[in-house]
């Protein structure tokens, strides 16, 4: 059996490659070149840089496995970066890591795994795959603080059959210990935080430069229509944001709404930020069929706790009603449905229901 290991140059995918070797697989390491600077080379700052690829290459070399850089610039630009800009233009808050997994990593790369002579695709994600008589299950990582099952919710049965996530069975501390024991140069490398295509600058300055029309100014208003002033561009705002609003108000105000048509940003109190539920589009379920029952725990952001909710189909979408109203339900983010540690499925929030 041969494994294609997507190596980012970080410690998780380095150890993933080592673990597959230990399990007796032949291994090929690849780094996806997803983004390039004006000169056509890989970026030198931020994530997914030349030096990350170099780390991946060195680890592959140390493990004695072949290593390649695969060119996914066109796909990534079209399917992830352009989409990222379009979502912001629509006043939404996209999650490009989810879209990259959905549209690049676990679609085109997974489809290519066989062509590259491999049986399974391996990544360094912290999540687990279980298999029983009902099929494949996607389960939270052993290390709850590093769990990445949220960004993998789009995986279906056919995907999980061909995907392996070996580091999901370990805590991050164990992963680093393992890497250190094997003398891998990535053992103490800090976790990446930035969006890979944004580099050192903020994603806002990136969007300003790449999608200038998204940065168009507009009015800053209160819920009752009171105009507080003018803002420099929608891109500076996210639902639930409290800092950097550009206006001084007597009480705490949050961004509660962004209207892309008029570039209007509405501020409000914490109460106004609360949503009773949301509508979710492009929903898929890991099992490939609808879950039994309507009670789930829903996670509405990568870094948030799953909260109890009731779900049900509504036209082509799904409606989610939280037991307790939730703050900062941002259209564009994924809503992921859990039951216990298991991911049932999820989709993209299209709007909050207040």
């Amino acid at each position: 059996m041969k494994a294609l290991v997507a190596m980012s140059g970080g410690v998780d995918s380095s150890v993933a490659a080592a673990l597959m070797l230990e399990q007796g697989y032949d291994v090929i390491g690849v780094t996806l070149k997803q983004w390039e600077g004006d000169n056509g080379e890989m970026p030198v700052a931020g994530c997914c840089t030349v030096s990350d690829a170099e780390d991946a290459r060195r680890v592959a070399s140390q493990l004695g496995v072949p290593y390649y850089v695969l060119d996914y610039v066109d796909e990534f630009t079209e399917k992830v970066v352009d989409h990222f800009g379009e979502m912001y233009a629509a006043g939404k808050t996209p999650n490009p890591c989810v879209e990259c997994n959905r549209r690049v990593r676990f679609s085109v790369l997974l489809e290519r795994t066989g062509a590259l002579g491999c049986d399974v695709l391996v990544t360094g994600h912290h999540a687990r795959i279980r298999h029983d008589e009902d099929g494949y299950h996607l389960v939270k990582a052993v290390d709850g603080t590093k769990d990445q099952s949220y960004v993998l919710h789009m995986l279906g049965q056919r995907d999980l059959e061909r995907v392996r996530l070996p580091v999901g069975e370990m805590t991050k501390v164990e992963v680093r210990e393992r890497a250190a024991r094997m003398g891998l140069r990535t053992a103490a490398k800090p976790d990446s935080q930035d969006l890979c295509f944004v580099g050192n600058g903020s994603y806002r300055s990136f969007i300003r430069s790449q999608f200038p029309d998204v940065a168009r100014p507009g009015p800053l208003v209160l819920g009752d229509g009171t105009v507080l002033g003018e803002h420099d561009g929608m891109i500076d705002f996210t639902i639930g944001q409290r800092k950097g609003l550009g206006v001084a108000l007597g009480e705490r105000r949050y961004v509660v709404d962004i209207d892309a048509n008029t570039a209007t940003v509405t501020l409000g109190s914490r109460d106004e930020l609360l949503a009773k539920g949301c509508l979710v589009d492009d929903v898929s379920f890991v099992a490939g069929e609808l879950p039994t029952g309507t009670r789930v725990d829903t996670k509405i952001r990568y870094r948030s706790t799953a909260v109890p909710a009731t779900i049900g189909p509504k036209g082509d979408s799904w409606r989610v009603v939280f037991d307790e109203p939730q703050p900062a339900v941002a259209p564009g983010q994924s809503a992921v449905f859990y039951r216990g540690d298991e991911v049932l499925g999820g989709g993209v929030i299209s709007r909050a229901v207040r």
């Binding site: 090929i28 890989m42 030349v50 390649y68 850089v69 062509a115 590259l116 002579g117």
Partner: protein
Amino acid sequence: MLYLDHAATTRVRPETREAMAPYLDDVFGNPSGIHGVSRDAKNALERAREEAAELIGAAHPLEIVFTGGGTEADNLAVVGSALAGGRRGAVVTTAVEHEAVLESVDFLERLGCRVNCIGVDRSGKLDVAELLTRVDQGTAVVSVMAANNETGVLFPLRHIADEVRTISPDTLVHTDAVQAFITEDVTVAATGADMISVAGHKFGGPKGVGLLYVPREIELEPVVHGGGQELGRRSGTHNVAAIVGMVAAMKATVAERRAARLRIKGIRDEFETELRRAVPDLEITGAEQPRLVQHSHFRIPGVAAETLLIRLDQEGLAAAAGSACNSGAVTVSHVLRAMGMGAREASECVRFTFGWSTASDAGVNAAGLVTRVAGELR
């Protein structure tokens, strides 16, 4: 392993290694010194220069300038002649030159030089008539490669050089003969060029060493400044061992060229014949044009070059696609773009290049392997 990427680099020849050995050991001197250790190194350097001059057909040994490789030779020729005497001379070149020339030309354009890049047709043939219309008295240098490094297509250099001289006698003709030197007759007389770039590692010499043939009366602005070695044209302590090694490889290459040409052409042709038979819709780039005998550049429609090359590497066959960038990802080459190829087609092109160390059954074996792997991918 089947190594069919000789256009990228080659294995060092035994003659090279043997010639270099003393200069990595006892004869370690800096040729610019006054003492005996230096004199021995200086003797070796100047002997190498004499031999290189003879092999290239130069009138005098000092017409050979040793450089740190082919790229540096190209830079010195193109940038050096356009900027000579404080001028901003015009440059005419082709759209399919190696980056060493194209990026130099781009640099000159930023400095205010007039620049013309002449295109090629779908088969890689240069539009010579168009090139000649761009040459005038203000043209400092015309740089045209002897053969393309990706497709292997040969350009009618002698004809171009003669015509350029008729239009503008003071215009210099430079040729990047880095690939052509391996199997073509690259001499001053055969090319008709005023300046010729050669790189050692393409024909069994070491990496990081090259030469530029350039007569002394041609004024050049140096691109590497320093201690004034090589008549001030290329400063920096001589890499004596590498220079001696390169010239030893040149000698062996020229001595064997006629036979090697036949042998390598035989292997290449066998490869293409076998592959054509197995893959009828195979498209060989530049097949209608005269091309280097060691090059086979082709696409198998529907098979991505990146995937094919990775699979072949797993099978122990080393070949190449477009030019590689820093990270090693395969990117669409400017040469194929200039030939009017779409991104899709270009991304399916691969390059197999045969060389001095290629075994006689390599063509058949490689064709069999490509056929099998491509069959699995289609």
